[in-house]
């Protein structure tokens, strides 16, 4: 009986201790697919873990349908701070279906390695994929770009290689096919040499005489219209430093999709 009481007390102590310490992200994973956009998260988990091990930064990929009324970058930073100290070394990627934005958020050392320009370069790659609902590919593109920038060094100026875009191949093939069809039509037409010379060839211009040739002015009128000037429009998104709800400092860029 005494042993049983000690066993229950020991279990209670353990539970109390573990409940008091927040669940670390590394235990929870690296991918937080709250919106259920990814088909299979295990591959992303592995890649994110490998990147985190390589860089020593906290890597987090978040998806959500409810941003709690927050701006995308702030939501990502607040989400991060559930598991880590504010402003610690991190690079986050979020797909926010509520605001229809994706964003890259960097904290600590990540801010220095992944500058605003580089964040926007990442978004250049991920945003078109999101428009095509290729969420897994967008997340992978984020991971591979961060890995490239890390390997390129803190002040590196290179750009990660773009993933092979098959749509460009199909567009090029389509253009090629159109050119081929036009060329074939030209060839086929050139193999029908059936153009007769105009009847004017047989006209005796020396004998031809005009009996009447008059150009009589009838009237003149003028109309006018206002020239409309064109003004261009810009796209949405944010870029630069910001603070999380708790006051942590981050840099981040977001873009609509």
């Amino acid at each position: 009986m005494k042993n049983k009481i000690l066993s229950v007390l020991f279990t209670l102590v353990i539970l109390t201790v573990t409940a008091a310490v927040p669940l670390s992200a590394k235990e929870a994973g690296y991918v937080f697919d709250d919106a259920g956009l990814f088909g299979n998260t295990s591959s992303l988990e592995n890649d994110a873990k490998a990147l985190s091990d390589l860089t020593g930064w906290n890597i987090m990929i978040i998806t959500t349908y409810y941003a709690d009324g927050k701006e995308t970058r702030v939501y990502a930073a607040d989400y991060y701070e559930k598991y880590y100290e504010p402003s610690s070394d991190c690079v986050l990627y979020i797909i926010d279906m509520d605001n229809r934005e994706n964003a890259v958020v960097c904290g600590g050392e990540g801010e220095y390695w992944i500058s605003d320009n580089k964040q926007n370069e990442i978004l250049d790659r991920t945003t078109p994929l999101l428009k095509e609902k290729k969420y897994d590919k967008a997340a992978k593109a984020f991971l591979s770009a961060v890995e490239y920038y890390y390997n390129d060094g803190e002040g590196g100026t290179g750009a990660p290689p773009k993933p092979f875009d098959w749509s460009k191949v199909f567009v090029a093939l389509g253009i090629g096919a159109v050119v081929a069809v036009i060329s074939v039509l030209v060839v086929v037409k050139s193999y029908k040499v059936l153009a007769a010379p105009p009847g004017a060839v047989y006209m005796d211009r020396k004998e031809t005489e005009f009996k009447e040739k008059s150009d009589v002015f009838i009237r003149k009128y003028t109309t006018s219209r206002v020239i409309e000037s064109n003004s261009g429009g810009g796209g949405g998104g944010h870029s630069g430093g910001f603070s999380s709800s708790s006051g942590g400092h981050y840099s981040g860029s977001s873009r609509s999709f």
Binding site: K168, V169, V171, A172, L173, I175, G176, A177, V179, A180, V181, S183, V184, V187, V188, Y191, K192, V193, L194, A195, A196, P197, P198, G199, A200, V201, Y202, M203, D204, E207, T208, E209, F210, K211, E212, K213, S214, D215, V216, F217, I218, R219, K220, Y221, T222, T223, S224, R225, V226, I227, S229
Partner: protein, 357 residues
Amino acid sequence: MPVVQYKCPNCGGSLELNANSHTFDCAFCLSSFEESQLKDQFKSNEEMPLNEIPAEEQQTQDSSDFAEHTSLYSCPNCGAQIMSEDTTAATFCYYCHSPVILSGRLSGEYRPEKVIPFSMDKESAVEEFRKWCSKKWFLPRGFFSKDQIEKLTGVYLPYWLVDYRADASMHALGKRVRTWRSGNKEYTETQEFDLNRRAIIDFDNLPADGCSKADDKLVEAVEPYNYSELRDFSMAYLSGYLAEKYDVAKEEVYPRIKERADTAAMQYLRESMVGYTSVTPISKDVTMLSVKWHYTLLPMWLMTYKYGGKDYFFAMNGQSRKIAGKIPISIGRLLAFAGGVTAAAGLAAYIITAFIG
């Protein structure tokens, strides 16, 4: 109906027109004669009444065993039976290959008024044909094979040449438009003019073929002929070539002639309305004042070819060497070309988009 041959006064061999020199050459003793030298013989042939034709040269037509439009003749040279269609005016004996002229087909209303003699012999025609084919990469090989080239045939086709005088008029609205800008406004000034043109227009020797077997578009496409080389018709010019008599009367070709002349007349009047931004015809009219017909034979090299179940045609002006035709295309070569173009253009497009993007 008489059958005549032009025989060499020296050896009695058949004489054929030399297209290059326009003399009449004997292939057996290699004699050559000017038209004037053989005038008497030509005259006797061409003016020979039917009842004076020697018995051995009389037609032995027997139409009872043949289709309605087929006739039989005896070759004056070897006596073989020659079958011809009822529009054929000159042909060859299938056995001795002697040129034969069915003079009865060219008498009365069917006697041509003028002729332009061939100015190139078969050798030159074949050379031109080969040269032309060498530039056509998509031609199937069979089109210019030796057997096919043998089918290239010199034919005198019957034509109606028409002297056509027309009274043509056109009434149109001409507009001159000027545009300029001032501030944020664009101004357009339009001046309108009432345009009237009327002209008496002459066409000389406007041609239309009078052969129902000929493809009108094909034979029109090898025009024009140089009419300064028109000569008074003589059957001797047909010796060594095929010839057809007309089977499309002038009344039937008149609409084609009129349409061609009217179109050219309107174009001529329209071209005289210069200096306008736009010209919109309001009314136009062409009245025929006079028309004069000349039944003429014009020289042409023709060849037909069957490919993929379809008939294709090649024609060459027997005087100017101008070529026309609807010729076959090798599907295999065309597909190879299309594939190559797709790959090359696609690669170029990909490189450009990759460079820009």
